[in-house]
């Protein structure tokens, strides 16, 4: 079995103010076939908000790839892409 897709959701204050709590519902939103292929981690501030070059909060990383202005549907789509690859 291949390695799990690792999703890190930043739960720092800047991300929370811009709506990161929605992404914390990821686990219950995953389709059945992806449920055991994804590892979800809620993180304290990843520090990405400190530099505007990184884009806007909320931030999520998926297998190390940074997603800016992340939304729950956006994260789900990206996971699907990794799963299909």
């Amino acid at each position: 079995m291949s390695e799990k897709i690792k999703v890190v959701i930043c739960s720092g204050t800047a991300c929370f103010v811009m709506g990161a709590s929605e992404i914390l519902l990821l686990e219950e939103s995953l389709p059945e076939d992806l449920k055991d292929k994804v590892e979800i981690e809620g993180a304290t501030c990843l520090g990405l908000c400190k530099d505007s070059k990184n884009g806007k909060a909320p931030f999520v990383t998926i297998n190390g790839e940074v997603m800016t202005e992340a939304t729950l549907p956006g994260v789900l789509q990206k996971i699907q892409e990794f799963a299909d690859a």
């Binding site: 709506g19 709590s21 929605e22 914390l24």
Partner: protein, 481 residues
């Protein structure tokens, strides 16, 4: 219900962060002018027809965040002047809500519409069942005569292709008391004599045209002047952020607040008094008492269900008792209630103990502007520890339960919870009022009312998904004594 973390909400929060950053740097007046341009830069994808329209709407949104009514907008006046006025103001101004005409989509009156899915079938159930005979079928499509249509919806219920839809006006639908209607130009107007300031319209307008008026500038000014500004945070605020016990207090300290009071301590006082009042009232032969901590509910009763007024408990709200406690400790304290509620802004303005009311969005923006990450803040042990039941006021059912556990005979309590004051909730209120006026015994003897479905954790200015907030509240409640 509209998702609370929608695009319109994000724009509002970004404006708040920008305003707070500028003000903290002492550059609000010179910098505020550039906010619309920075948020809708040249060559960016416009949200509306063009970036110029976007910028104009952003200007008005900035004005509301500065605490002004946008109805007073003057084309000639610069944002810097509005910022100056905000910085000089001593008290927030009424009304608490303002309508942004240029953002209001002027949604057409709620109506039924036949879509392309219409097959112009032979059975024609829409036409056959229409009580007003206002549907005909021409050119391969059903048509509704808008003049004759009475919006009964029977055509929609009978169409086998689901080809007929209802187009609502979200703000009007959200308002439980009929306070919002269109003026001659089709824009929405709020009748403030009917409005309960529940904030439902603000939460539901997809264009973000219904806005509260900010108080963040006033509070930051007091903080920068070195006044003894104290934070009084509602239990629902503890549910908004991910933090270990005491870290929120640490964040308030880092933001410059002199001291923090948990409003849950005030909630304990409210629950104690309310339990006592309930026992007294029942001894005197009353049949029904209702809670009184939700200000939108209290206003709804006063204006729209006067029969129920005698049943509303005389006990004051947790905010009031907390502010009273703070002012007693030091009359020089500048008291700031922090909560997710719009109606509290009105209650705060009418309460001499409360100086300002900040929303969950505003305190969040202040933390972001000061680069405070709550998860990294030191934990501070607060003064008085509230009970678990006091902390649970933020959730529907929590107030009635807090009263129950304090009664000498808890088994005598028959609670009924109105979880969200929508149109149906208003009907329930009126029914209770009628029963009480006629001295008829009800199934319930204590009615708890929360204007927001779910309670304060789903208030109109929350930043956290109520499901997540509920889990965070649970942790906070469990740590209560």
């Amino acid at each position: 219900m509209l998702n609370i973390n929608n695009g319109a909400a994000q724009i509002k929060r970004e404006i708040l962060v920008r305003i707070a950053k500028l003000q903290l740097a002492g550059k609000l007046e010179e910098g505020v002018h550039y906010i619309p341009r920075e948020m809708a830069p040249r060559n960016s994808e416009p949200r509306r027809c063009c970036i110029y329209h976007d910028r104009e709407v952003l200007r008005l949104r900035v004005m509301a965040r500065l605490g002004h009514s946008v109805e007073d907008y003057d084309d000639e006046k610069k944002l810097a002047e509005y910022a100056k006025e905000a910085l000089e103001r001593e008290k927030p101004t009424e009304p608490m809500l303002t309508v942004l005409d240029d953002a209001c989509n002027a949604c057409v009156r709620a109506h039924y519409m036949v879509t392309n899915a219409c097959q112009a079938c032979i059975a024609r159930p829409c036409m056959m069942n229409c009580p007003k005979k206002c549907i005909d079928i021409t050119g391969g499509r059903a048509h509704i005569d808008p003049e004759a249509c009475v919006n009964c919806g029977i055509c929609m219920q009978n169409c086998p292709y689901h080809a007929i839809i209802r187009i609502p006006v979200p703000c009007e639908e959200a308002c439980p008391v009929g306070a919002i209607s269109k003026d001659e130009s089709g824009k929405e107007r709020i009748d403030y004599s009917k409005c309960t300031f529940c904030g439902a319209c603000m939460r539901e307008c997809p264009f973000g045209a219904m806005m509260d008026k900010g108080q963040i500038v006033d509070v930051i000014r007091k903080l920068m002047e070195g006044k003894k500004v104290v934070a009084m945070y509602a239990p629902a605020i503890a549910a908004q952020f991910r933090a270990q016990p005491g870290q929120l207090e640490g964040a308030f300290k880092a933001a410059g607040f002199h001291k923090t009071f948990e409003v849950a301590v005030g909630a304990d006082i409210t629950a104690d008094k309310e339990a006592h009042e309930f026992e007294e009232r029942m001894e005197h032969g009353d049949t029904l008492m209702t809670t009184s901590c939700c200000p939108a509910y209290v206003r709804a009763v006063q204006i729209h269900a006067p029969d129920l007024i005698p049943c509303v408990s005389d006990t004051r709200s947790p905010m009031h008792y907390t502010a009273e406690m703070a002012k007693k400790e030091d009359p020089e304290y500048v008291t700031v209630f922090i909560g997710p509620c719009l109606a509290k802004r009105k209650e705060g303005l009418d309460d001499p103990h409360v100086d300002y009311v900040l929303s969950a969005e505003e305190i969040g923006a202040l933390f972001v502007a000061k680069e405070i990450d709550i998860g990294e803040c030191e934990a501070i042990v607060c003064g008085q520890q509230p009970t678990a039941s006091g902390r649970n006021f933020a959730q529907s059912g929590g107030v009635a339960e807090a009263v129950r556990v304090r009664l000498k005979h808890p088994e005598n309590l028959r609670p009924f919870v109105i979880n969200g004051l929508d149109v149906a909730g208003m009907k329930q209120l009126k029914a209770f009022g009628k029963a009480a006026a006629e001295k008829k015994p009800c199934e319930a003897n204590l009615v708890e009312v929360m204007a927001c479905p779910g309670g304060c954790i789903a208030g109109p200015s929350v930043i956290t998904n109520p499901k997540v907030a509920s889990a965070q509240l649970k942790k906070y409640v469990e740590k209560g004594i």
